[in-house]
């Protein structure tokens, strides 16, 4: 058997980067960041399963990860980096018999959007009411950005995260840059 070194390329490999609509990074109203090292897990539980959300909440709290409710009995767990194997095993064990745990790290791409103009920019894509009392930090919802389906989460008042099917990531990335140009946008992936 030959020695072959296998390395992964994220879906946004080679995507457009830099400043758009401004020449000065300090004036950019929007910062777009591809979170390419993320681990993304999908959790599916049957109707009536109890305690799943609580157990997930406890795990993400301990790991510094994020929980994104996607539908009834359906969550995404997002981590900025690969969590330790033992921790993942512990999660898997906790959920055993209650829910399935599925790796979607390659199937979904995580894009972070932030900046003082972020809600104005996102309103060009989503019909979600982004006023803070309507869509508070921690809230998450599936929505459409133009023609592309995605999961939008408010991480903090001016920080949002978009989870999108990886095959659509490049298209969405380009659209986000178009939407953000008016405010000056800095994109890095």
């Amino acid at each position: 058997m030959l020695e072959v070194q296998l390395s992964a390329k994220p879906a946004l490999f080679g995507a457009a980067e830099g400043l758009f609509g401004t020449k000065d990074a300090s004036t950019a109203g929007i910062v777009l960041t591809a979170s390419t090292q993320s681990t993304i897990l999908q959790v599916l539980s049957p109707p009536g399963a109890t305690g799943v959300a609580e157990k997930l909440q406890a795990w993400v709290g301990a790991e510094g990860a994020g929980l994104r409710p996607n539908g009834p009995g359906n969550w995404f767990v997002v981590c900025d980096a690969q969590p330790p194997r033992e921790s993942l095993e512990a999660l898997s064990k906790t959920l055993e018999g209650r829910a399935e745990l599925l790796d979607q790290s390659h199937g979904r791409t995580r894009i972070k959007v932030s900046g003082p103009k972020v809600t104005q920019m996102l309103a060009k894509g989503t019909a979600i009411d982004l006023r803070e009392h309507q869509f508070a930090p921690g809230q998450s919802a599936p929505t459409l950005f133009g023609h592309i389906s995605a999961q939008l989460t408010r991480v903090s008042p001016e920080n949002f995260e978009i989870l999108v099917l990886s095959s659509f990531a490049l298209s969405l990335w380009d659209s986000l840059i178009v939407m953000g140009r008016e405010f000056g946008i800095q994109a890095h992936c």
Binding site: M1, L2, E3, V4, Q5, L6, S7, A8, K9, P10, A11, F13, G14, F20, G21, Q42, L44, S45, P46, P47, G73, N74, E100, L102, D103, Q104, S105, H106, G107, R108, Q120, A123, K124, T126, A127, D129, L130, R131, Q134, G146, H147, I148, L165, S166, S167, F168, A169, L170, S171, L172, D174, S175, V178, M179, R181, E182, G184
Partner: protein, 988 residues
């Protein structure tokens, strides 16, 4: 000279002159002008030619309803036709051109239509150009289109960008005139989120045009101060230069913002227009009222305009409309105009009114001619005089003047309240149609509700805003304002038209519909308001009858002896004013027309020189030309042959992939496929045929059992989303009792087919586990390690090509690395990348079907899969309906192979199958070719066909008829498997 700029006053900035051009002639205006006010200040009374008769026309209004002053702006891709000069903000370098005239606005040959007008009444075209029928398209229509027109669009692409955006609010206030401002000032006191929208560049609406006072301030100053206050309020968002154009269900409003239509240099980073979708919990319609023209002989000469428009030009833009101005007014508006004109030193020669008494509050110098009408006018390109007729005596007199302000009363602007189908209601007391009852929190206020006095509008706006907020749980007190004593705004009875007019009395200015046209419509039986509209074109075109509809209704009512209430209005539909296609399209043009889905192996394929084909949103690699190959067929033949002789690798990542979990997963899958899945062993894949409820095949694919309660289903590329939706419906609606969970993992895996006699040897170099035939037999499906456990993948021994083949799925990000490794490891084994074209050749050679065959009208039996349909299962989707007589009939189209009798000849998909002796007509059709290709292995064209009694006719000679090209060749029906019919290679 008649119109001129006043030396002081107005809301223009005389320190900022602006150069612009009209029909190539350099002119000057000031900052704060509209194109219309600047033209009027330059005494350009003639601004357009009418649609049908090419009559000289001037400005009729100062706002959104303008029917006459339609101009073309910009050049090339920025050409914008039918722009209302009244709505264009003057800016440096603005170039406007008049329309519908040749060779020039002053000397227009088309004006000959005016002389022919006795023949050109309503319905003229329909009656006259009846025969010969062929002439209509070739002669009449082109001539008519050339003679009548509204500007010419450009064929050059628009260089600017457009976009859409959402907005959400508790209270939407539409219009920032006195009512809207009062509502907004009240709402600003609350914590509710408020959006105030106005179409103007300056907020204030009529306050900018009137000489009245609020809170002891001139109205315009009050408006300016209100805007400062509202801009400082955190809960208020102001959208100016924005027209709310449509009202939709759930209180969603469409609004067009002109972001960069008033600037000389476009900023590429911003859109020129933005289309808003505003979702509001409550909305106040403060759109005001439209002044109605009067219908009398010669009422369209340049120099005549609405009395309210005259006040706007005078008070806001400091332009006097003429030197000797006459007024023709039913109601108080004309009297106010006379007062304002005289206050600015303009001579008012007469005030003519059909009312019997003078307006008591008027103290000016003008001669008052009550109980009289204007019967006719004189002047060509500008008004010269009037013929005044005294109603009592019938006597007439003439009067010289150079401008006329007219007012026939007011019509509330109720459009948005009617877009959801509600009809406005006629009110005799208001002499107007009033808005329908409030609906879903949308309520009309002020002028839009028939309230005309300033004090009442301010009060109405404040009260309704406080009520709307109260409904949302925000209690505020109403903002209060003090005003001068208003003139009592009592409306006289409507005055629809002057009888026996001298010359044409226009009702619809934009479409040249005059009084006689409506009379003709009634006489010919088109007296229903909707029919009269179509017959005469009254209320059509870009202004949609903003000025003409109510007058036409009044005229129809009088002609039919009924009331406007009985006649009713035509249907109100979005948009209130025109919206560009650019704004509706938003950013979805060019590369952003639709999203592109990128396969995880796209870059790998691109790197190896692939040509791509658009398949839905995907770009799939279709072939990989090598140096020296000049023709796609050459590459495809080589790829197909290499796969059969050595090995090939192909991107199949676009197939739909669905993970299915649950203790009832096997039962679930057993019910959605027509063949059995309950006993599929763990570690095995099976081909499945999914039917629709009606018994026809929906989709096909393989499903593998990865664990007792864990399956992995693949679908076709085209039906990936549809199958998942179908399965979700089955799970959630049909069988909610089954324990099943579904999730799409289409994007998680890069999947590649490795096919050919050397496939195993190549894969064995990268797969950690034993994949010999014994260890990994046909239809095996398991998780495997790759390259010494570096990553985990899923390996399936399935084959679409008919060769010894595997499909390998790896986490998407590793796709390129793994595919490259396989290409490199396979180099010595003669591997080639191949695309969808070669894949198609390989599958046709094996008689494998795709959606070319499964087109929604075929059953399993039609494709020779009849025995796959389980007879043992108690139920599955499609079971009952599949038993229908028609679906079991023996003469159905059935799958068969087809080849040309002479191998040198070829045929294409879509060709029809005929009996040898049959005439080439559809009536003799026996079936058709569904798939075809050149088979490099057989050296001739082959195909799959759906033919009546097909399998029973194998060996028969037939005719393959291409009806489009009228070509027929002889062919032979054969078995649909052309290569390796025993499947020996598959099981090697």
């Amino acid at each position: 000279m008649s119109a001129y700029r006043l030396s002081n006053g107005g809301l223009i900035d005389r320190s900022k002159p602006i150069d612009f051009k009209f029909d190539g002639k350099p002119l000057q205006g000031f900052a704060g002008d509209t194109l219309a006010s600047a033209l009027l200040a330059n005494d350009k009374l003639l601004v357009g030619r009418s649609f049908k008769y090419h009559r000289p026309r001037g400005l009729l209004t100062a706002g959104a309803a303008e029917p006459n002053a339609l101009v073309t702006l910009g050049q090339d891709g920025r050409t914008e036709t039918n722009t209302r000069a009244t709505m264009v903000e003057l800016h440096h370098g603005l170039e406007a051109r008049s329309q519908n005239r040749w060779p020039s606005l002053d000397h227009d040959i088309g004006a000959i239509n005016g002389m022919l007008s006795p023949f050109l009444g309503a319905g003229f075209y329909y009656k006259t150009f009846m025969w010969p029928a062929a002439f209509w398209e070739k002669l009449y229509e082109p001539i008519i289109r050339k003679a009548a027109g509204l500007g010419r669009a450009s064929y050059v692409p628009d260089p600017d960008t457009y976009e859409k955006s959402w907005a959400h609010c508790d209270l939407l206030i539409i219009g920032a005139g006195p009512t809207g401002l009062a509502a907004a000032l009240t709402a600003a006191r609350s914590k509710a989120r408020v959006i105030l929208v106005d179409e103007g560049s300056m907020l204030g609406g009529s306050l900018l045009c009137e000489t009245t006072e609020i809170n002891d301030q001139p109205a315009a100053e009050f408006a300016a101060q209100a805007i400062v206050e509202l801009s400082a309020a955190e809960n208020v968002q102001i959208l100016k230069r924005t027209t709310v154009v449509g009202a939709y269900d759930d209180n969603v409003f469409g609004a067009l913002e002109r972001v960069q239509k008033h600037v000389s240099v476009i900023d590429d980073n911003k859109p020129v227009e933005r289309f808003w979708r505003i979702s509001a919990k409550q909305a106040i319609l403060a759109t005001g009222a439209e002044e109605r023209p009067l219908v009398f002989g010669g009422n369209d000469r340049p120099g005549m305009m609405m009395a309210g428009a005259m006040r706007t030009y005078l008070n806001r833009f400091a332009v006097a409309p003429g030197k000797q101005v006459a007024i023709f007014s039913n109601g108080p508006s004309g009297w106010q105009t006379a007062r304002d004109l005289e206050a600015n030193g303009v001579d008012v020669v007469a005030i003519v009114t059909p009312e019997t008494a003078s307006n008591k509050s008027y103290q000016g110098k003008a001669r008052i001619i009550a109980n009289a009408v204007i019967a006719g006018t004189s002047g060509e390109k500008r008004l010269k005089g009037l013929t005044i007729r005294h109603i009592g005596s019938g006597s007439e007199e003439t009067l010289a003047c150079d401008a006329l302000g007219m007012s026939g009363g007011w019509s509330p602007i109720v459009h948005l309240a009617c877009h959801r189908g509600d009809k406005p209601k006629w009110s005799d007391a208001h002499a107007a149609f009033l808005p329908p009852a409030p609906r879903d929190g949308l309520i009309a206020a002020g002028g839009a509700a028939g309230t005309y006095s300033l004090a009442a509008c301010l009060q109405d706006g404040g009260t309704l805003a406080a009520e709307a907020l109260d409904n949302l749980g925000h209690s505020v007190s109403r903002a209060e304002f003090s005003t001068q004593q208003d003139e009592k705004a009592e409306m006289p009875a409507p005055f629809w038209y002057v009888k026996a007019p001298k010359g044409k009395a226009f009702v619809d200015f934009q479409n040249d519909v005059h009084l006689k046209d409506l009379g003709l419509a009634v006489r010919e039986g088109y007296d229903h308001v909707e029919l009269a509209k179509r017959y005469t074109t009254n209320g059509m075109a870009t202004d949609q009858g903003k000025l003409s509809n109510v007058n036409a209704i009044g005229i129809l009512a009088e002609a039919t002896g009924t009331s406007p209430d009985v006649v009713g209005t035509t249907t109100f539909r979005p948009f209130y004013t025109p919206v560009s296609f650019g704004a509706l399209t938003g950013s979805h043009i060019g590369a952003h027309f639709h999203p592109t889905r990128v396969s995880p192996l796209f870059k790998w394929a691109e790197k190896h020189g692939a040509r791509f084909v658009e398949t839905g949103l995907w770009h799939r690699s279709s072939w990989f030309p090598k140096e020296g190959e000049s023709d796609w067929r050459e590459s495809v033949d080589r790829e197909a042959k290499t796969v059969r002789s050595h090995a090939g690798i192909c991107d199949v990542s676009t197939l739909g992939k669905i993970e299915i979990f649950g203790s009832d997963a096997a039962e679930f899958i057993n019910r959605v496929y027509c063949n059995g899945f309950l006993k599929l062993p763990v570690g095995k894949a099976r081909y499945g045929l999914m039917l629709r409820e009606d018994g026809f095949i929906y989709d096909d694919g393989t499903t593998s059992r990865l664990g007792e309660n864990h399956f992995f289903m693949t679908t076709t590329t085209a039906f990936a989303a549809g199958v998942l939706t179908h399965l979700e419906c089955c799970s959630q609606v049909l069988w909610p009792d089954l324990d099943v969970r579904l999730v799409s993992v289409s994007d998680q895996w890069a999947q590649m087919a490795i096919a050919g006699p050397n496939a195993r040897k190549i894969l064995a170099e990268i797969v950690d586990e034993d994949i010999s035939d014994a260890a990994f037999p046909f239809l095996a499906a398991r998780e495997v390690g790759l390259s010494g456990g570096q990553i985990k993948g899923r390996l399936f021994r399935i084959s679409f090509s008919g060769e010894l083949a595997f499909e390998l799925a790896v986490p998407a990000g590793y796709g390129e690395a793994v595919a490259d490794a396989i290409l490199s490891l396979g180099e010595d084994h003669g591997i080639t990348p191949y695309g969808t074209e070669a894949l198609n050749v390989l599958r046709i050679e094996k008689g494998h079907v795709t959606h070319a065959e499964i087109n929604g009208t075929v059953t399993p039996g039609d494709l020779g899969f009849g025995r796959m349909v389980s007879a043992k299962k108690p139920d599955f989707i499609g079971r009952v309906m599949l038993q229908r007589e028609g679906l079991q009939a023996t003469d159905r189209l059935r799958l068969v192979g087809i080849r040309p009798l002479d191998p040198a000849e070829s045929f294409v998909s879509g060709s029809h199958i005929l009996d040898v002796d049959a005439a080439p007509t559809g009536a003799n059709d026996l079936g058709h070719v569904t798939s075809s290709c050149f088979s490099p292995h057989l050296g001739h064209t082959i195909g799959l066909a759906m033919v009546k009694h097909g399998p029973e006719l194998i060996g028969e000679e037939i005719v393959i008829w291409n009806g489009l090209k009228q070509q027929s060749i002889r062919g032979v029906l054969c078995e649909p498997v052309f290569v390796d019919p025993k499947g020996e290679k598959l099981h090697a």
